[in-house]
Amino acid sequence: MDKFDQSIKNAKVNIEPSTNFVDSTMTKINSHKVKPRFGFRLWMPILGSLVVAAILFMVFSSGSNTFSSKTPAQKTSKNTTSQSATNNTPPPSGTNNSALVSYLSGIDGSINQENSDQNSANSAINDSSSEITVPTD
């Protein structure tokens, strides 16, 4: 190291940091450590959960609307099925054979009606499937 290098080296100014530098630095580190992590670790998960819950609510509510908007045939099917179900009352106890036969034929008619409704519902579904087919040029 020549004289010029030595003169550069000697130009260094030594200073003494403030006496509370270490303490104030550690205080800042501790406060810095707690605040952002408090926010991140506590509020972010809560906020995230709320957002997820809102999204799920929106998905399910729109889904239930979709299910409720069925084709008229499906609606008819639903109505007749419910009507048929109301017909399926158990036979009164202590009735004779003719009454029982009449009751069973009533049930048979209801089953046939349900099958017919089911067929019309299926055809309606097939129709809607063909309707939503997107033509490719």
């Binding site: 004289k3 000697n10 130009a11 260094k12 940091p17 270490v22 630095t25 580190i29 501790n30």
Partner: protein
């Protein structure tokens, strides 16, 4: 505080495992050197302490990213110099060249005369302040903080060859500034 490198690594491991208060030992070990280093770059004690504190806080936050292959001091100075460099670029410091002319005699004394005189130290310091920021950083790290070229290259994120070139040019500029010769 005397602390070996092995003890320092142990402290870093403790901090990383959750004993945050152990970081105090690292602050105590390096704060004098770091504040002095920054003061010689920024020339303002309050700013130097602010930058040093910010550097310690960032070092604490990013401690998990510290690569133990290198010395902790190298990593800490790298963080501090990055902060200081940005600050210095924003400040756009202006140096009063008249002050230097007053310190360095008008009749251009010889090299020996200048370096021997009492005011030489201040003159050199003032001349260093006129250099570009990266030259000042190289001079501070090499002459005042005793880092070698490889360590300075890590701190300043430049190739070793660039650091050598910058140091050479910094000295040339200083000679011009002080003695009007190359």
């Amino acid at each position: 505080m005397n602390m070996t490198d092995a003890q320092e690594k142990a402290i870093i491991s403790e901090v990383l495992s959750g004993e945050h208060e152990q970081f105090r030992f690292l602050v105590e070990r390096y704060h004098r050197g770091l504040v002095t280093h920054l003061y010689n770059l920024i020339n303002d004690q309050a700013s130097a302490e602010d930058v040093a504190q910010e550097a310690f806080i960032r070092a604490y936050d990013k401690l998990s990213q510290y690569n133990e292959t290198y010395a902790f001091s190298t990593w800490l100075y790298k963080i501090a110099d990055n902060i200081a460099y940005r600050q210095l670029k924003h400040i756009n410091r202006t140096t009063d060249f008249d002050d230097i002319k007053e310190l360095v005699a008008d009749d251009k004394p010889s090299l020996d005369e200048v370096t021997d005189k009492v005011f030489a130290r201040e003159a050199v310091k003032k001349s260093i302040e006129t250099l570009p920021v990266m030259y000042r950083q190289v001079i501070a790290l090499y002459y005042w903080d005793n880092f070698n070229y490889e360590e300075i290259a890590i701190i300043m994120e430049r190739p070793v060859g660039t650091i050598r070139t910058w140091l050479h040019r910094a000295k040339e500029d200083l000679r011009k500034e002080l003695y009007g010769q190359v």
